[in-house]
């Protein structure tokens, strides 16, 4: 909790270098919408390793990070390429230990959401009606707990409090307050549950002006750093700013199936680019021949 402070307006490179250390527990949230791809790419460029990656829906960005070996462990509830199929780098890590074994801590969506909510609420655990009759209970970090009033048995899950949460939002104002709208997933809870929160934004504005439903605000004093990264969610999208690049998700299936094709793609588009703007240029340029 970084209270009594104001978010620092900085570059993505500086934000990641300052706050993301080897071995950290990092949550990069975004429920299909507003996924912080640019931040993930910057972590790949800087090479932080041994990370515990946390995310309800690890998708292509975590596939990339797992594929280059950033992650020691994954805490998650659904790991697929949305609308397409498997995450091949994730599967390769789990099925064949490539590039190295990946420890899994897996929950249901309801469990993960409750865990973040407990973290944001300063509670050590959350209760839910969950995991009933499943084999998940054997592998998830959970317990059962009896209601002190009715005796009913419920699931208990430990709070999630990442070292760093990274999200992408539509806007920040000049005081560092962040606004996002549309599908905001579990981002508010993930941000408030973390010790340190970094936000990339589409733009810095004089006043937050939502252009869609469900406006969520995170005040400056809950955030450590804000970096303007227009298009920073690509191939995910930012409602009001960009559309989802569905073709990229389909293309990713082919890129990620093969270790060498994947490696080449990372070399060219992430390691071979300086920042998100040049990544975006490289993607446009390369779109035809990937």
């Amino acid at each position: 909790m970084e209270s009594s402070k104001q978010a620092k307006l900085t570059t993505l490179r500086d934000a990641i270098a300052t706050h993301v250390a080897d071995g950290a527990t990092v949550a990069m949230e975004g429920f299909t919408h507003l996924i912080p791809f640019a931040a993930g790419h910057e972590i790949i460029r800087q090479g932080q390793s041994d990370l515990t990656l946390v995310r309800m829906t690890p998708d292509v960005i975590y596939d990339q990070m797992i594929g280059v070996g950033s992650a020691r462990k994954l805490v998650f509830s659904w790991g697929g390429n949305p609308g397409v199929g498997s995450l091949h780098r994730f599967r390769d890590a789990v099925e064949h230990g490539h590039p190295h074994p990946l420890e899994l801590e897996e929950h249901s969506h309801a469990g993960m959401a409750a865990r973040y909510t407990a973290g944001a609420s300063g509670l050590p655990f959350a209760i839910l009606r969950g995991y009933v009759g499943t084999d998940l209970a054997k592998h998830a970090d959970m317990a059962t707990i009896a209601c002190p009033f009715t005796g009913e048995e419920l699931a208990a899950v430990p709070a999630l409090s990442p070292d760093i949460t990274i999200i992408h939002a539509q806007q920040a104002d000049r005081s560092g307050n962040v606004g996002m709208w549309g599908i905001t997933g579990v981002q508010k809870e993930a941000a408030l549950a973390a010790t340190t929160t970094i936000v990339t934004v589409e733009e810095v504005v004089d006043e937050l002006t939502p252009r869609g439903p469900n406006h969520v605000v995170l005040p400056s004093w809950t955030l450590a750093a804000i970096a303007p990264v227009p298009g920073g969610a690509h191939p995910s999208y930012a409602m009001g700013y960009s559309r989802r690049d569905n073709a990229f998700y389909t293309r990713w299936d082919r890129i990620s199936r093969d270790r060498d094709v994947f490696r080449d793609w990372v070399e060219e588009h992430i390691l071979g680019t300086e920042d998100h703007a040049s990544y975006m240029e490289s993607i446009d340029r390369g779109a035809g021949h990937v």
Binding site: F31, H109, A113, D135
Partner: protein
């Protein structure tokens, strides 16, 4: 009666499956919908006989009426066309766990004869043959929705004697029945070959209908256990022209909108 002689069906098996599932939805039901075939079925129902069906996606879009099918659970279309949008913790706590969902859709990589589903792993958990995406919202949809409709293409790989992992509970590994306070569970399984429903006393999935042109043998070879057959086995009504037109229009609009 020349008109009824067998011809090549003018619809696909996926269309048959979607149309069949759509028919199980009633107007004003509150449905928790996933991407893919369930989303097609639910929106077909909304655009045909159930205009006031309430569709909720786990991304937090409530009462959404998309013009085109979403490709992901979090497409902008779902938010733009929703009555309102909430965060993911709320959708699971207040809306699903709160007991407000009449009907949930589930799919999986494996199903057993008691409607237990696996979307976690093929093979052992520690030594997986195929690592699947995992649970997502399924475990709690299976126990918090009033009832569950399962959509799954028939194959011996999918219809297995014993699932490798219970991601979502149906009637339990031994068919012992539903957990307490957990809704009715799977009331129907719709495949590309027919329709199965749990037997009232044994809880075993029983083939109650085949789709037109599908033989019993077709179903049996693609089911990994000795399949129970209802004595009054029916044949599904084929898709009507109206159903097909609405479904195909929806998919055509979708292709245009998503740029192919």
């Amino acid at each position: 009666m020349f008109e009824v002689q067998p011809t090549l069906p003018s619809y696909s098996s996926d269309e048959m499956m979607t149309v069949t599932a759509a028919r199980f939805l009633s107007d004003r039901q509150v449905c928790f919908v996933g991407i893919g075939l369930p989303s097609e079925a639910a929106n077909l129902a909304r655009l045909s006989h159930a205009p006031n069906v309430v569709l909720i996606y786990e991304s937090g879009t409530i009462g959404t009426k998309p013009d085109v099918l979403p490709l992901s659970i979090g497409d902008g279309e779902l938010a733009e066309k929703a009555e309102f949008v909430v965060g993911v913790p709320e959708v699971f706590a207040y809306w699903l766990q709160g007991g407000r969902i009449d009907l949930g859709f589930l799919s999986a990589a494996q199903i057993d004869r008691y409607g237990n589903l696996n979307s976690t792993v093929v093979g052992g958990y520690e030594e997986p043959k195929v690592r699947l995406p995992g649970a997502g919202g399924a475990p709690e949809i299976a126990t918090s929705a009033g009832e569950v409709i399962i959509m799954l293409r028939h194959s011996e790989r999918a219809f297995v004697p014993s699932v490798d992992f219970v991601t979502s509970v149906g009637f339990g590994r031994g068919g012992e029945g539903r957990p307490e306070r957990a809704g009715r569970g799977p009331t129907v399984v719709i495949t590309d070959l027919g329709v199965l429903r749990p037997d009232q006393s044994s809880n075993e999935l029983t083939l109650v209908a085949t789709h037109p042109g599908v033989s019993l043998e077709d179903v049996r070879v693609k089911t990994g256990w000795e399949l129970a057959i209802a004595p009054d086995l029916a044949i599904t009504e084929p898709p009507t022209d109206g159903e097909l037109e609405i479904l195909r229009d929806l998919k055509a609009r979708t292709i245009v909108a998503h740029g192919g």
